[in-house]
Structure formats: C-alpha cells, structure tokens
C-alpha cells in the first residue's frame, strides 16, 4: 500500500468520498463538496462564456463585422428586468431566443423523428420480427390519441402500446446498467489504486 502524495489525487479522492457519503444520509461533508463543485463549475461556465463572447462576438465586431453589435445590445437588454420601468424591454431578446429555438426544434423534428421513423416502419411484412416492429410502432402511437374517446379497438391497441413501451423501457434500463457500473469502476480505481495505492 502506497498512499499518493499528489495533492490533486487527494482532492479528487476526498471529493468522491464526500459525494458518496450522501448515500448514507445528507451530511455537512457532502454539502461542502457540493457547494465547492457547484461554485467551481458555474465559474468555469462563466469563464468559457466570457471567452466565447470575446472570440466569437467582440473581436469579430471590432475587426469589422459591425452587425454583431445588434445581438450584443439585445443581450444587454436581458438585464432590463432589474429596472421596473424598462423591464418589458427584455421581451425582445427573449422572443429572439424563443423564436429561434422553436424554429430549430420544428425543422429537426420532422425529418429525423417523424418522416424518418414512419418510412423506417414501412418494412416487408414477411418475418415475425418485422411484424413485431410494425405492430409495436402502431400500437404505441395509438396510445397517444389524446382527444378521441377510446373505443373498443383503440382501447385494446393503446393498452398493447403501453406494454410495448414498457418492454422498451425495461430493455433500455437493463442496457444502461453497464455504463453506470463502468463509471463507478472508474472512480473506485481512482480511489483504491491511484489514491490508496492498493492492488
């Protein structure tokens, strides 16, 4: 056993222990690690934000892309919410963010999630497997009829649809376990091998 003398390893190991301590119960050790971590990571986000701003907005603007002054001004308008008289001004940048976000969401959804998935369901219905995929899709989609009263047929299909979804959820759950355990193996190797020098 050879305990590490690297300060970085010590900090990493202690913070991992602090995080794991929450499994026992909420305690001051966890709370402290959490606050330091949140502070550092939010600080990093701000640093990255400032640098991105300087590189992708400020410098290009100074070098001649004067139009970039508009988003900069719009960004500043976000802060109008702190001043009651002009608080409404922050609707302008927000509407820009929301409108653009909505447009991007719409255009992407059609291709990959609707048309792509519908055409992928048009399979040759010659094997058992293809029937399962085909019926599973139709049944689970029929579960989402929200404004039509369920009749005899749709009542059954939507119930079956829920069963198909549950099967998918179970599968996704079981399939994810490995990745999660891998993450813990990584941390345990750090604690036992790198920090404590066991093994």
């Amino acid at each position: 056993m050879k305990i590490s003398t690297d300060i970085g390893v010590w900090i990493g190991a202690l913070s991992a222990l602090g995080i794991y301590s929450v499994l026992i119960k909420d305690n001051p050790f966890y709370t402290m690690v959490e606050h330091i971590f949140v502070g550092a990571s939010a600080g990093i986000a701000v640093v990255v934000g400032i640098n991105t701003f300087l590189n992708s907005a400020w410098s290009p603007m100074i070098e001649g892309k004067y139009l970039l002054i508009i988003p900069i001004l719009l960004g500043i308008l976000l802060y109008s919410r702190y001043f009651e008289d002009i608080a409404w001004l922050n609707r302008i940048p927000l509407s820009f963010l929301m409108g653009t976000g909505a447009g991007v969401a719409m255009r992407g959804a059609v291709e990959s999630q609707i048309v792509g998935q519908i055409s992928a369901t048009m399979v040759k219905l010659t094997t058992f497997d293809s029937w399962i995929i085909f019926l599973g899709t139709i049944f689970s989609l029929s579960y989402f009829f929200l404004t039509f009263q369920r009749g005899k047929v749709t009542g059954v299909t939507s119930q079956l649809g829920r069963h198909f979804m549950m099967a998918a959820f179970g599968a996704a759950f079981g399939n994810t376990v490995m990745g999660r355990i891998s993450a813990a193996i990584g941390r345990f190797q750090f604690i036992f091998l790198k920090w404590l020098g066991l093994g």
């Binding site: 709370t31 990093i44 976000l78 059609v110 048309v115 040759k124 029929s142 929200l146």
Partner: protein, 254 residues
C-alpha cells in the same frame, strides 16, 4: 431549390402546421374537443395540496435542456404549478440548469404569480440557477431536495443521464414524484423511480388539461389526426412494400 432529401419533410411540416392552425381556428369558433384524463397532471394538484398540508415546499425543474421543445413544455406546466402554489400558499422552489432557460423560467414564474394575483409571493432565491454543468446541476438539485425536505418533486422537460439521480434523491426524502420527458432513454428511469410519469407527448397537453385552453385543445385534435394519418401511411406503405412496390418509401426519402 429544395435541399436534397427534404422535399417530403417540407410538405409534411406544411401539412402539420396547416392542420393545427385550421383546428385552432375551428376550436375558437366553438368546436368541442375534450381531452382524455392524464393521471400525471391530475396528480400535480394533489402533490401541491399535499405540500400545503405538510407545510413543506414543492420542487420543480424544467430539466437540463436549453430552449428546446421539451423545455417549453416543462415551462408550460410550470405556469400551472406556480398558480397552484400561489393558490395553496405553498413555497415553490425551481432549479434551472441552462442560463437561457433560466432567463425564461424566472419570467414565467414572476408572470404566473402576477396572474394568480400574488406578485409578492415570488422570491428571487426560489428560482435558482444552479450550473450549466450536468453533474453540478444534479448535485445541486440533490442538495435542494434533501435540505429543503420537499413534499413534492415535479420534473418535466428535457433530461439526460441525471434523471435517475434526481428521482432517487427525491425518493429518499419521501417526496411524491411526478416526472415527464420525451427522451425515450430517460423515461425508464422515471418509470422506475417516480410515482407518476407523464409519457412523451402527454406532457405537451398541459394547458389543455389545466386551463381547458380552447386553442390548445384544437391543436391537440389536429395532432391526433396527424397520428391517425401516420398510422395509415405506415400500414399502406408496409403493405405496398411487402407486395413489391417501393413507391411510397421512395417518395418519403426525397
């Protein structure tokens, strides 16, 4: 003029949005549309009521997403949760991960308290920006759930791998938990760890459910018709393909 491979997608979008607008118009003109019960939404009122009885706060988070569709749905639910909280005099704590989502969330909360007639109930420190880092956000939310001893935990929006961390922490304090997301890889974790799960598209029906908003009900009716058309297309396309005609599939990938 069209970008390759997007012709059919474009007309699909036009068809869908057109149908939604027509039905919104019809609904405003008086067409009756009713919505089937969504247990997760019914449970929200119960959850807020429970918090009021216990004298403990409600926690809500619109998730880890930026301004994407699932986040918008979460914020729509938040509107109603805020009004319920105002009505029951319950403290509502909201945690947010992405800065642009925070900018909108704070606004939604403030506005909803105003609409509920209690603008003074809004407290800045109850709408918390945690961190845009996924794990820092998760650790911060664990902290809020455990230390504020919330009675109810509502999570609706876009979630990634942190979903189960939040849900298990909520379970630890015995909170009643209601969750919803469209991400098929995260729903399983909500299904196993929460009391009520709002599955996929159901979460977009919040205003129709809570406020019986007629425009919203109209658009839901249009969505149902689109689902019916999709099912019809799949059946026709698969049958044609089975019997050797690839025409429909080829049109769709244009």
């Amino acid at each position: 003029m069209f970008v390759d491979g997007r012709i059919f997608d474009f007309w699909t979008l036009i068809f869908m949005t057109g149908l939604m607008m027509i039905f919104m118009y019809l609904a405003r003109k008086g067409m009756k549309v009713t919505i089937r019960p969504i247990p997760g939404f019914d449970a929200i009122e119960e959850a807020v009521g429970r918090a009021a009885e216990m004298g403990k706060p409600v926690h809500f988070t619109p998730g880890f997403g930026g301004l994407v569709a699932a986040t918008f749905a979460g914020l729509e639910v938040l509107r109603h949760v805020t009004k319920l909280a105002a009505q029951y005099d319950v403290r509502l704590i909201v945690t947010v991960s992405q800065p642009e989502t925070y900018a909108v969330t704070e606004q939604v909360m403030r506005q909803s308290y105003l609409e509920a007639g209690k603008p003074e109930a809004f407290r800045v420190e109850d709408c918390r920006f945690i961190s845009s880092d996924q794990w820092a956000y998760a650790s911060g939310v664990i902290g809020v759930l455990l230390r504020e001893q919330v009675a109810s935990n509502i999570m609706i929006g876009q979630f990634a791998a942190e979903s189960l961390i939040l849900a298990e922490a909520g379970n630890t304090v015995g909170a009643i938990q209601i969750a919803g997301t469209t991400n098929a890889y995260q729903i399983p974790f909500f299904v196993v760890a929460c009391d009520y799960v709002i599955l996929g598209e159901e979460m977009f029906a919040a205003s129709a459910h809570f406020a019986q908003d007629e425009l919203h009900l109209g658009s839901l009716r249009a969505e149902d018709i689109i689902k019916g058309v999709s099912i019809g297309l799949m059946i026709v396309g698969a049958l044609l393909f089975t019997f050797g005609n690839e025409g429909l599939v080829n049109i769709m990938i244009k």
